[in-house]
Subunit: 383 residues, 2 copies
């Protein structure tokens, strides 16, 4: 068994879910998000690349429908005991198999929430699901339900987040150690991953971002590596992942001669990050945090070079992204809770001068405010 | 720019797509699959974790709607020139922005194929899309269109597949070098990734699979590492990825004393793999290949321990999976083409005795039949 939390921890999560279902007058939930399944039962897989669904009742009963390749996976990684398999074939209709499973569980006519917005339920599958369930159960969108419960972390989860933060710091050091004119991006990426995997961590929810020269202005991953120039900039965004809990860091480093803009932008980004961290406390909203970011950068005259968002929640997430809900954007009314873990990234991408400067780290929110978990040294690295 | 193919190569792909659209009487296509976008334009991102859509016309015109974080990403990695941004916010309605973009492009009343089955279009987004496009354009599911074109690789693609195969062989050697009683799974995983990233490769479409002891019977990734016992088995499934093209290998290794079943199962798996490779030739069907797998393993009395599928196409794929269409399962009528690249995996998981034995590698299909690209030595490794 590879169960990473105690039975009591899982029972407490189920109790929170059952209460939330009762509040919404729902008899149960059909989960299509792997993030939700992992949080509720430990079920750890990328099986959501195919049709799979976990039914969970307000009464705590549950049953998983998945493919044969995931039968033992569910047995060995989760609290689940009722695991059913749909069979590959030209005539496979797993949505129909799901309807049959729900009937078998005696759920005819019940009202179920469904994770309609999960990456595990593409539109084509959703249409088949709707057709298969039509007239059998009543459904409504409940995509946001479990994410809203997952935002506040338990003590056991925070312990894993701290392990993840240590791995991200190790990956940060591994990259900085290799920084030099002529350094190979491929070697930096290899060293960062070796730090995370070698430390017992896992693949991140999305690929690490690495880009130098003009590509330092990108904030997504892409194929193709290059060597740094004598004078160059390199943007790195990466996360330690431990038991799938993430702690991310984002930094732009300089090799050779920094441009004057690097120092100026770094000052602004550091000031904005600290302003955001000051706002990141129980009772403030995600919009307040975004306003702190926009306020500082706009006051520096950098409004045209910043993004429309400055961070997001982090937790145990699977592909395609470690970005968890909610996100820090303009006027988002989400209220920051104690026990939340958030990544704040200040991203300055100046296409006019071709200058990048990014600075970001992960904080735990306590009653006293934001506690940065990684990247303690925010100085601009120049090698 | 990080464009990995020549303009002529992209033009040839667009020409194939335009012909396919004309055949289906479609004026254009709305792409939601990152795999499709990368193949057609080079656009390289994990931006599909949020709403984004690429319109492409039968006339070759195209326009991308995405978020601000992906504006420069599209500019620097693709052939695209018309890139539009929807803005984060509580009132954001990107599906409505897409409808406006299509109107702006003069597409009112046109008939468009849509990738309804893409992981980039969850059901909730698909419902909003359908509402926004209602009465404006005519839509129909075209999820399978570009995957059907992507199966046959060009010479330029095959060159990248061969690079990927070299990386997977390097990862294979890196793992075998560390095999020993007491070896740490974390070190093995770190070494495999270092081989791929250090060789200029990328993150795979899904996480590498590693499991030992009882977890050697799993064929998905999961969190949590252990050290090998004095007598143990370890199942590894991994891929080199180069320019996002994959070449996968799957093997179960033994440390210490092998059980008699390991040798017997390995013999059967190797015989089955060779039987599949003999069937993997132009004109045979995916069902024929599966039948070869099932025939050999069932004749060995191992029918209860095999899976319902024995491989799939490989190509340039993004998360959540490197498994590309089509898959080798019972009676699949897909006809194997020359220029196809396929992963064949023989998976034996015997829960009764707790014994695992997996063997798989990647082949290119030529007019002469299957050419294995990696794992030339199929012997059982015992250390």
């Amino acid at each position: 068994m590879s169960l990473h939390f105690t039975p009591a921890e899982f029972a407490a999560r189920q109790a929170r879910l059952s209460a939330a279902l009762a509040e919404r007058d729902l008899d149960g939930l059909l989960l299509f998000s792997q993030n939700s399944m992992y949080w509720l039962t430990g079920y750890d897989s990328f099986g959501f690349c195919f049709f799979q669904c976990l039914y969970v009742g307000a009464d705590g009963r549950s049953a998983l429908l998945t493919r044969s390749a995931d039968l033992r996976q569910a047995q060995r990684t989760s609290t689940l005991t009722d695991i059913r398999v749909w069979r590959d074939g030209a005539a496979a209709e797993p949505a129909r198999d799901l309807a049959a499973m729900l009937a078998d569980l005696g759920l005819a006519g019940r009202r179920l929430g469904v994770e309609f917005g999960a990456h595990g339920l593409p539109y084509a599958d959703g249409l088949k699901l709707a057709a298969a369930l039509e007239g059998r159960v009543e459904t409504r969108d409940a995509t946001a339900l479990i994410p809203s419960l997952r935002v506040e972390k338990s003590a056991a989860e925070i312990a894993y987040v701290r392990r993840a933060a240590a791995l991200s710091d190790a990956a940060d050091r591994a990259a900085v150690d290799l920084l030099a004119p002529g350094a190979d991006e491929a070697a930096i990426l290899a060293a960062q991953h070796a730090a995370v995997f070698g430390g017992g961590g896992e693949e991140p929810g999305n690929p690490f971002i690495i880009g130098s020269g003009g590509d330092a202005l990108l904030c997504r991953s892409k194929a193709g590596r290059r060597r740094l120039d004598a004078d160059d900039q390199i943007t790195l965004e990466f996360a330690g992942a431990y038991r799938h809990y993430h702690a991310a860091i984002m930094r732009t480093h300089v090799v050779g001669r920094p441009r004057p803009l690097h120092a100026a932008y770094h000052e602004a980004a550091r000031e904005a990050l600290r302003a955001c961290e000051a706002e990141l406390r129980p009772g403030r909203t995600a919009g307040d945090v975004f306003a702190a970011h926009a306020g500082v950068l706009d006051a520096h005259g950098l409004g045209a070079h910043r993004l429309n968002a400055c961070g997001y929640s982090l937790g145990a997430t699977f592909a395609p992204s470690w970005m968890d809900a909610p996100m820090f954007y303009d006027a988002n009314p989400f209220v920051v809770p104690a026990g939340g873990v958030f990544f704040l990234h200040m991203i300055l991408m100046d296409s006019d001068s071709g200058t990048a400067l990014c600075l970001g780290r992960t904080s735990l929110v306590t009653a006293a405010g934001a506690e940065p978990l990684n990247a303690p040294d925010l100085a601009l690295v120049v090698r």
